[in-house]
């Protein structure tokens, strides 16, 4: 938020004319790629993680699992769902941003299920060496709905007993 304020207070007054001239270009595209990310710290985002157990919302979560070599783990309904608290439908993007144990997974899949259990999006990989936003999958989620996160992965023979892997997942949606 501080970055945003700084930008607005400085850059807007100095380059107002050039900015106005580029508005047409900006609005010609629904989405732009940004080199930085803007987390909604301190804000009240409309797309949040919804904790099934108590109905609370969160903007960041951490799911923890055990992993066994050569064995599938399936979590049909993760602790949290994805809630669209907006009054309009939202398009949401999902991807795995990074993994610190790229050889541990023979398969890693995250699915988004709608309220009827139908799969709306599947993000999957067998190779964590090439992940990131370019691999994002998306779905459109109606206003006021909560979708289920399903996690499936199969450990490879490289799983190290007693150690931990970390897979960073990201969701992106328009404000």
């Amino acid at each position: 938020m501080s970055l945003r304020r700084g930008f607005l207070s400085g850059a807007l007054s100095l380059a107002a004319i050039r900015a106005i001239a580029m508005i047409g270009i900006v609005f010609a595209s629904a989405m732009l790629y940004y080199d930085w990310t803007v987390t909604m710290t301190g804000a009240k985002p409309l797309v949040v993680f919804y904790k099934w157990a108590d109905g609370t919302n969160a903007t960041t979560i951490d799911l923890t699992y055990n992993i066994y070599a050569n064995l599938w783990l399936i979590d049909d309904n993760a602790t949290y769902g994805v809630k669209n608290g907006a009054t309009v439908s939202k398009t949401i993007y999902m991807w795995a941003d990074s993994c610190n144990a790229t050889t541990w997974f023979a398969n890693y899949t995250v699915q988004i299920l709608d309220t009827s259990g139908a799969v709306q999006a599947t993000w999957t990989t067998t190779d964590f060496s090439s992940v990131g936003e370019s691999t994002a999958v998306s779905w459109s989620q109606p206003a006021g709905t909560i979708y289920t996160i399903k996690v499936l992965f199969k450990g490879s023979s490289s799983v190290v007993v007693g150690s931990a892997a970390r897979v960073n997942m990201k969701l992106k949606t328009a404000e």
Binding site: A11, R18, D35, T60, A69, D76, K172, T173
Partner: protein
């Protein structure tokens, strides 16, 4: 010095003499004598825990012990059925060997239920002197009837001495002994898989000799052992197998010699059938019993007729079939009483050879008649299990009674009675002769699980009757089939070392096919990761009856996508559940026990607490504002470069 040397020499000589006096005992060889049958019998001698050392016959591994128990038995085959029985234990005084003695063992074999018994006498003639020990068993068969007709086959004479210890340790030695100054050494066979289990003390050593040359020709080592509470009979033939499993059965010198004779013959039953005062129902008819023993109380029936008449009695003989239908065999002439009196009267009936089914019974109707007034009294045998009534003459002994009361003025009344049921009124049939049918029913048992959905292969099915026990493993379709079964047998089933049904009895009087419903249950178990977040799919759940080795494996299957596995036909007991990562058996991720108590039981989940790693999946949401427009520094830099280039 010389005196001392002479004394020592004398003592040494004395010691040596004493030693020689004991150790020179050996068997006196004599030919085997086989009486009557003109054929050589294969001689099987059982010595349970019997020990002979170089010093002679030694009981209880201790010469100072003055006694031993000896039991004798005989087994044989009669019409396809095997019989085996033993006498009670008989103590032999050790002093009996010190000179000569004679022991006699008596036994009774009842060949077929309800028939007369075959008796046998086993005489032991024991001779002990300074040069040899001679034991002479003589088996003599006899029966209630002299005209023995059928040969009893495959007679095996057993005798054994008990309460004798065996040295040695099964695993590190071999069987070796001397017999007739020849050394015999045999390794025990290799195909005894479970050499490490505790072996019970039940050992039989079957020595087989050529009964002409007295050469040792074969040896069978029999024993039962217990493997995880399951009795497994084992028969091992030693000859021709170079083996790993070994035992220490060093019998040393084997100075025993046997002479024996045996002649068994059997005959068709020729019985006396008594008219009893009690009743039974056979083939749908309730009637007084016609049996081989008499009751102790009598009864009678009476008819009367006005006037003075002769009284008459006769008997009709029918074959009564299982469905209640009958065929007349014949009937006797009348017995008359023209004057008052009572007592036994007899009449004969020539019975022709009449085929019978094993379920047929013989019904005898005694008709009592005064003028036109009559009555019938019915008697019936049990199902005879016979193939035919022999051609024979039956003699009917009937206790009859006639009494005329009244006078010419008031008139006369004739009373006729028929008495039966005790030794005084001993109405009966003598010469009741028939041929027994071979007892050879089939008993087919299909081993099934609790819900009768699956046939169970490789279950151990035990069948016992009064004389023998048998075991079979069910085949791939669950069948354990026997032939030659009759009477009451007891069945129980063991599966992977667990008794999976209570012993139950079956009365076999015809070919019988049964499903044996066992306590083999199906069960569900869910497999969870250690933190119980999610489930494990394709986990290999394997159930063992003990430790996790292949031989103990009862069932195995992979979990489905709900984390459950469905395991079938598990014994109702406490079992070991082991979960492996994936279909291989290389990585155990869980190992614990569960107790099955019902079919379709959902067992508590298996939480896999071994050999796992951890995965952390942090999520964050990235927002794209659409109401505001941001310019990236890169975009601005590009603009500045463009501007500079223009300049």
């Amino acid at each position: 010095m010389r005196y001392k040397f002479a004394s020592c020499l004398f003592l040494a000589f004395l010691t040596l003499s004493l030693f020689l006096n004991v150790s020179c005992k050996y068997a006196k060889e004599e030919h085997v004598y086989v009486e009557d049958l003109g054929k050589v019998w294969h001689l099987h001698n059982y010595f349970d825990d019997f020990y002979v050392d170089k010093d002679g016959l030694q009981i209880s591994n201790n010469l100072s012990q003055p006694w031993a128990d000896i039991v004798a038995g005989v087994s044989f085959t009669f019409r396809g059925r095997s019989y085996s029985f033993w006498t009670d234990s008989l103590s032999l005084e050790w002093t009996a060997f010190n000179g000569s003695s004679y022991a006699e063992l008596n036994g009774t074999a009842q060949l077929i239920r309800g028939f007369v018994s075959l008796q046998f006498t086993l005489n032991y003639h024991l001779v002990w002197n300074s040069s040899y020990i001679q034991i002479t068993p003589i088996l003599i068969a006899s029966s209630n009837y002299p005209d023995l007709k059928y040969q009893v086959e495959n007679v095996i004479l057993h005798y054994r001495m008990e309460d004798v210890s065996i040295d040695g340790n099964i695993a590190d030695d071999f069987c070796a002994f001397l017999f007739n100054n020849e050394t015999y050494e045999y390794f025990l066979p290799a195909y005894f898989e479970h050499s490490t289990v505790n072996i019970t003390e039940s050992l039989n050593h079957l020595f087989i000799y050529d009964n002409v040359t007295w050469k040792f020709v074969d040896y069978v080592w029999e024993w039962n052992y217990t493997l995880n509470q399951m009795q497994i009979p084992v028969n091992v033939t030693l000859i021709g197998d170079g083996a790993n499993v070994q035992a220490d059965f060093n019998y040393g010198n084997f100075p025993l010699q046997f002479i024996f004779r045996h002649s068994f013959w059997w005959h068709d039953p020729v019985e006396t059938r008594y008219m009893r005062s009690d009743q039974h129902t056979i083939n749908g008819l309730t009637a007084y019993k016609l049996d081989t023993t008499q009751t102790s109380s009598s009864t009678y029936q009476e008819i009367t007729e006005s006037g003075q008449y002769s009284c008459r009695w006769r008997a009709y003989v029918y074959v009564r079939h299982a469905d209640g239908s009958e065929n007349l065999v014949g009937y006797t002439a009348y017995i008359y009483r023209d004057t008052d009196g009572e007592g036994i009267q007899s009449v004969t009936l020539s019975v022709s050879l009449t085929s019978l089914s094993s379920t047929d019974a013989i019904r005898v109707r005694v008709r009592m008649l005064i003028s036109s007034v009559d009555t019938y009294i019915d008697f019936i045998t049990e199902r005879l299990g016979a193939s035919q009534l022999d051609e024979a003459t039956w003699t009917f002994y009937l206790y009859t009674y006639r009494d005329v009361t009244g006078n010419p003025i008031i008139g006369y009344t004739t009373h006729a009675r028929f008495y039966w049921g005790d030794s005084t009124h001993n109405s009966r049939i003598e010469g009741f002769s028939y041929t027994t049918a071979p007892v050879a029913y089939k008993l087919n048992l299909k081993i099934m699980d609790w819900d009768l959905a699956d046939a169970i292969p490789n279950a151990y099915v035990y069948l016992k009757n009064d004389t023998s026990s048998y075991m079979k493993a069910s085949d791939s379709n669950g069948w354990a089939n026997w032939t030659g079964v009759s009477g009451t047998v007891y069945v129980n089933v063991s599966y992977f070392g667990f008794w999976v049904n209570g012993t139950f009895s079956i009365s076999v009087s015809a070919d019988t096919t049964l499903n044996v419903r066992c306590n083999l249950y199906d069960a569900y178990i869910k497999v969870l990761p250690n933190n119980q977040q999610g489930i494990l799919y394709t986990a290999n759940v394997t159930v063992f009856n003990g430790t996790c080795i292949q031989g103990n494996k009862i069932a195995t299957s992979l979990t489905n996508k709900t984390g459950y596995v469905y395991l079938t036909n598990l014994p109702n007991n406490t079992l070991t559940f082991t979960v492996y990562a994936g279909s291989s058996y290389s990585t155990i991720i869980y190992n614990d026990s569960r107790t099955l108590t019902s079919d379709e039981q959902v067992l508590s989940s298996a939480v896999c607490n071994q050999n796992y790693g951890n995965v952390s999946i942090p999520w964050e949401i990235v927002m794209m504002p659409i109401a505001m427009v941001y310019f990236s520094k890169k975009a601005m830099a590009s603009k500045n470069i463009l501007k500079r280039n223009k300049n």
